[in-house]
Symmetry: C2
């Protein structure tokens, strides 16, 4: 039987999304189960197994045509196939998730964290097809990263490499980051970081902006993007500040691995050129001469609703 | 004939050092030729060929027992075997050095820059034996780096990856770096950086220190180290400042590739614990929790006089 499909599973704190994917990156069928209703991981594995079998039944060949399962999970360790101390999941300690799922369904299973999965997805189906050296930055609630060198994701000696959201951009009077450090990129270039920048500017200036019409706790990166797209100068400045800082950080990442491109993914990229232009500016202002103007910054080419499933599924082609 | 030796060539602006090396990292014979007296690279190649043949004649089997030649060169590009626009050499533009040498001597030749060669040397004969993931930082006149991931040096898409000396540590009011950027690690953690720190402190404070007895242009990292080892508090503070900054930079590098160790090499390491302690402190103060206290910082184990030749030679084992 030709094993021409893979299954991707994206585990989030509340729900787990899964889909059957073909070699071109078409999601042929998908479904969702709850993550947070299972205090016991073994009960979750049973439900997930049922969902995987039901999904496979929707494609020709069923489970026999599925090569394997790839999973994108918080705090996932690729080497060990484990979830380790994930703060947003109910299962404590180290969970040998890949093994548990593999035993339940009788197929090989690989897992990694969300950002690494996104990088593999982009390389397999998206903007990084044909690239062997690139860096993927995910701009969501936090800032994640997946680094590809020589066609392989960089996992490091322990499986946890690629924490570029927690490199330090502001060493003096930097913002407190959720990770415990101060001045992390994530405290500035995430959705939450953009909202913090907006509040800081509103507090410390009296410039006129439509953002003042919003309730304080309703200020989000989405509202800032909307205001900016209508020409609100303060909102535009917020994106310029954010993009310049992200670009400067990217320049350091280029000095590390000299990628042929940087791919941006996630909510903030919806702002389009509002974020891309200052990123490119900040990047080129901080690159060494030999790289100036030579490292393209591109947006992900994966449809956002499918991206997490696609990224996870891409891991399974290597099984 | 058993090809049990390699030859390493370390090309500097003034002289080129070469040596025959066995698999254990013993330099069995070595010699030196001038680099800067040859305006024409072809004349240099002839001289280098003669020197290589003379060197090989000193070991059993002669040229027949030499597997190949590895070269550490300024601005060396591993992929292309070229020197590209090296500011300290007389040969302009792009020189296909590996090809030229290979044709002259009839052996395979590989080259890379000095810091990458140092990393390969350390992995082959030194402190990084058995390691697959580590970062080598060379602290000399400048700050260089060689990054090893999964047992391979990271060259990036263009052959120029690993410029960690030019990541930005101080974004506001940072020092001008020789590379044209501002706030680079190299402007602080190099021998020149230490001397600049010393002059800045002498200028902006009136603290008592033996460094004030030196002529202004005689202040170097060596004098600062000597004063510090005699207990001069200002000199100790200079190393603390330098080490803390280098350590903070290393924390960002760990977030990138999660190495199992960081190896320091070069002049500044002669200061021993004076530099190592603040480096380790700066590193752990800036690491994410999952890595705190877990990433050892070690000094090179290669004898300094042999290290450049050993590093270059190590490239040739892979030929």
């Amino acid at each position: 039987m030709d094993k021409k499909y893979v299954i991707g599973v994206d585990i989030g704190g509340q729900t787990s999304k899964l889909g059957v994917v073909d070699a071109r990156g078409n999601v042929l069928a998908q479904s969702v189960i709850r993550t947070d209703t299972h205090e016991d991981v073994n009960m979750y594995i049973k439900d997930l197994g049922d969902a995987i079998r039901a999904l496979a039944a929707q494609v020709d060949g069923g489970m026999n045509s599925v090569r394997g399962v790839g999973m994108g999970v918080p705090n996932g360790n690729y080497y060990r196939g484990t979830i380790e101390f994930a703060p947003n999941l109910k299962w404590n300690g180290v969970i040998p998730l890949a093994d548990l799922v593999s035993k339940e369904i009788g197929l090989p299973v690989a897992l990694t964290n969300d950002a690494n999965a996104a990088a593999v997805g982009e390389m397999t189906y998206g903007a990084a097809r044909g690239m062997k050296d690139f860096i993927m930055i995910t701009l969501g609630t936090g800032v994640g990263s997946g680094i590809v060198i020589g066609g392989n994701v960089v996992y490091g000696h322990d499986g946890f490499a690629g924490e570029l959201g927690h490199t330090t951009q502001v060493r003096t009077n930097g913002r407190q980051c959720a990770c415990g450090k101060v001045g992390c990129l994530e405290a500035y270039a995430s959705a939450i970081g953009v909202a913090r920048t907006a509040r800081e500017i509103l507090e410390t200036s009296d410039s006129k902006t439509s953002l003042r019409d919003l309730a304080w706790d309703k200020i989000s990166s989405k509202e800032v993007a909307e205001a900016a797209s209508k020409g609100d100068q303060v909102a535009v400045d917020i994106f310029n500040f954010t993009g310049n800082m992200l670009g400067a950080a990217l320049a350091d990442f280029v000095a590390f691995s000299s990628p042929e491109a940087i791919i941006l993914f996630g909510g903030l990229t919806k702002a389009g050129d509002l974020i891309k232009k200052p990123v490119v500016e900040g990047l080129n202002n901080n690159l060494m001469k030999l790289w100036k103007g030579k490292i393209p910054v591109e947006f992900s080419q994966l449809k956002e609703s499918d991206a997490a499933i696609l990224g996870a599924s891409a891991l399974a082609w290597e099984l």
